[in-house]
Amino acid sequence: MKTKILVTLGVATLALAALAPLAAAQDNDYPPPEVIVTMSPVYYEGHAAYWWHNHWHYRDAHGHWGHYNAEPKFLHDHRYGHPADRHYYAGGYHRR
């Protein structure tokens, strides 16, 4: 029984290690500064999340960018309940 558990854990670890790089591969694809300064974020799980290129992006506690590959329900509901809040800076402040 003990051996079975060890084998199970070992295989699970190997499989996770093999797939982890796929999850991290898009880490460099984060919103440019022009998006950060013209879009309003939504606060979720203690950080500001920005909807950009079909994902919610945010910076973690270490300043690294990450994103949700599957859209959390809260953010999904927010996105469909509120139009994108983009700010334009020409000729006076205005939004649309």
Partner: protein, 310 residues
């Protein structure tokens, strides 16, 4: 063997779940208790494509406008970045009135520098329209703006502290991120290679705005390269922005402790305004009278950018 197979299946399911549900491996936020929405194919792929195209066009327009803003407004230094950052902080409605008051206080703190900056633009616009920019008059106006900009931080400190007190930890971090992003854009457009014709450059923007011919673009580019100013020194700004964005999310932030702020804001005004003036001094002789009139109008419009219409 059977248990190993089962383990493999479990592992793959677990890993796929991780990939779908969670963020990148470098993030630390927990998703425990959260639920996610699986992306479903859109009812109409073409509608999605059109929406994406609209979003992309809106994003580019907003980006171009903020770049243009940072090419033309240097009087408020980092305090202006903060004031602009509040615009898109996305706070709860019940906090908006309080933040609008703080924004208004920051606006007031920048008033002397803003008036001096308006004077620079007025002198420039008059010169562009007439085809003859009075250098002595412009230099005197620029000196006044530089001096006024170097006093902004002292006047804005109370408002910056009030802002810090009003925000939650995640809102403070978001504001720091936005200030950093504004600084990055400011640096990008104010350290651009002289005479650059690349997409997003000042000259490319001018070409679109005034309908410059390719011959005019080439001549302006050559003239800007020939008379290039020394590279903008951003060291003071970099140091201050770094200190500010590190301190603002912490509980111990106090704007009054930033001794380097006035020097940094003054340096930004000095370099940014000199660069803007030099650009229009170089461009003006190479424009037609109609283009000069249009450019002068555009310069006057820039005076409305920094919140006076609010």
């Amino acid at each position: 063997m059977r248990s190993a197979k089962a383990a493999l299946i479990v592992a793959i399911v677990l890993a796929a779940g991780c990939k779908q549900e969670n963020q990148t491996t470098q993030t630390s936020a927990s998703v425990a208790g959260s639920s996610s929405v699986t992306t479903t194919p859109s009812a109409s792929a073409s509608a999605s494509a059109e929406q994406a195209e609209d979003d992309s066009a809106d994003e580019e327009e907003a980006a171009e406008q903020v770049r243009t803003h940072h090419r033309h407004h240097h009087h408020g230094g980092v305090a202006m970045f903060v004031r602009m950052a509040i615009d898109t902080l996305g706070v709860a409605p019940e906090k908006k009135t309080q933040l609008e008051k703080i924004q208004s206080d920051l606006h007031t703190a920048m008033a002397p520098a803003r008036d001096a900056a308006k004077n620079v633009k007025t002198v420039l616009a008059d010169g562009v329209a007439s085809g003859n920019i009075d250098k002595a008059k412009v230099d005197a106006a620029v000196a006044k703006e530089d001096a006024a900009a170097a006093n902004v931080h002292g006047a804005a400190s109370d408002a910056l502290n009030a802002l810090h007190a009003a925000l939650s930890p995640e809102e403070r971090q978001a504001l720091a991120d936005k200030v950093e992003a504004h600084a990055e854009i400011w640096k990008k457009v104010n350290t651009e290679a002289a005479g650059s014709k690349e997409k997003g450059s000042h000259l490319e923007h001018l070409q679109k705005t005034l309908g410059l011919s390719q011959d005019q673009v080439d001549k302006i580019s050559a003239a800007l390269q020939k008379n290039a100013l020394p590279k903008t020194d951003t060291a003071a700004m970099d140091t201050y922005v770094s200190a500010f964005t590190k301190a603002f999310p912490t509980d111990t932030f106090d704007a009054k402790t930033f001794n380097q702020a006035n020097a940094a804001n003054g340096a930004m005004a000095k370099h940014g305004t000199a660069r803007m003036v030099h650009f229009y001094e170089t461009v003006t002789p190479l424009l037609t009278p109609e283009q000069r009139t249009k450019l002068a109008d555009k310069l006057r419009e820039r005076m409305k950018d920094d919140g006076d219409t609010k």
